[in-house]
């Protein structure tokens, strides 16, 4: 079974600065997908960025980018030019690319709370 670990329960960043959230995972599969979801307080989880394991190029989405290190099984999220609206819980998630059954599930990490200081 796959596991996802987020070792930082909480991170604090000054507005306009950069913060990096760490995520490691354990899997024996060679092909999979990784996601970062954002969950603002009392709001739904929203996809921030995704990465296909077969792609070497790190995904980028505006101010959000990842550092995907497949050999190290590491998938960190960098938030550049942090804004007050970035304050939220961030979850790293893994999804197998191997078709087990219709509706492959997401396996989540424990989350990292990001605080943005004005």
């Amino acid at each position: 079974a796959q596991t996802v670990t987020q070792s930082q329960p909480e991170m604090s960043v000054q507005e306009a600065e950069t913060v990096t959230l760490s995520c490691t995972y354990d899997t024996s599969e060679s092909d999979y997908y990784l996601f970062w979801y954002k969950q603002p307080p009392s709001r739904q989880m929203i996809l921030v960025i995704r990465q296909e394991a077969y792609k070497q190029q790190n995904a980028t989405e505006n101010r959000f980018s990842v550092n995907f290190q497949k050999a190290a099984k590491s998938f960190s999220l960098k938030i550049s030019d942090s804004q007050l609206g970035d304050a939220a819980m961030y979850f790293c998630a893994y999804r197998s690319a191997f078709f087990v059954a219709a509706g492959n599930k997401l396996t989540f990490g424990g989350g990292t709370r990001v605080l943005v200081k004005p």
């Binding site: 999979y32 009392s42 739904q44 690319a97 219709a102 509706g103 492959n104 997401l106």
Partner: protein, 115 residues
């Protein structure tokens, strides 16, 4: 932008009672999921549903749990006889296809409190 909607936002139930959590997935989505998050713990997968049947379920999803898509729009999670440990945030999600890089869209969640 279309959203997954869940009702109620908060449900308080006596232990042993049945509870039904409701979800309206995004209209053109075909795959549906339930996850739960016990306070302070990870978000855990419960069940996935496609073509009117369960496609995968976790060990958490025992005989006390059931899912249904009764009318083509709602997707419900029923807990037959609730226990204290069922207290958690329950999230519904849906996706348009089951290509693994397609995101699952989540609802706001239902907070279930068992007394």
């Amino acid at each position: 932008e279309p959203e997954v909607t869940q009702t109620p936002s908060h449900q308080v139930t006596q232990m042993g009672q049945e509870v039904i959590l409701r979800c309206v997935p995004i209209s053109n989505h075909l795959y549906f999921y339930w996850y739960r998050q016990i306070l302070g713990q990870k978000v855990e997968f419960l069940v996935s549903f496609y073509n009117n049947e369960i496609s995968e379920k976790s060990e958490i999803f025992d005989d006390q749990f059931s899912v249904e898509r009764p009318d083509g729009s709602n997707f419900t999670l029923k807990i037959r006889s609730t226990k204290l440990e069922d207290s958690a945030m329950y999230f519904c999600a849906s996706s348009v296809i089951d290509s693994s890089n397609q995101p699952q869209h989540f609802g706001d969640g239902t907070r279930l409190s068992i007394l």
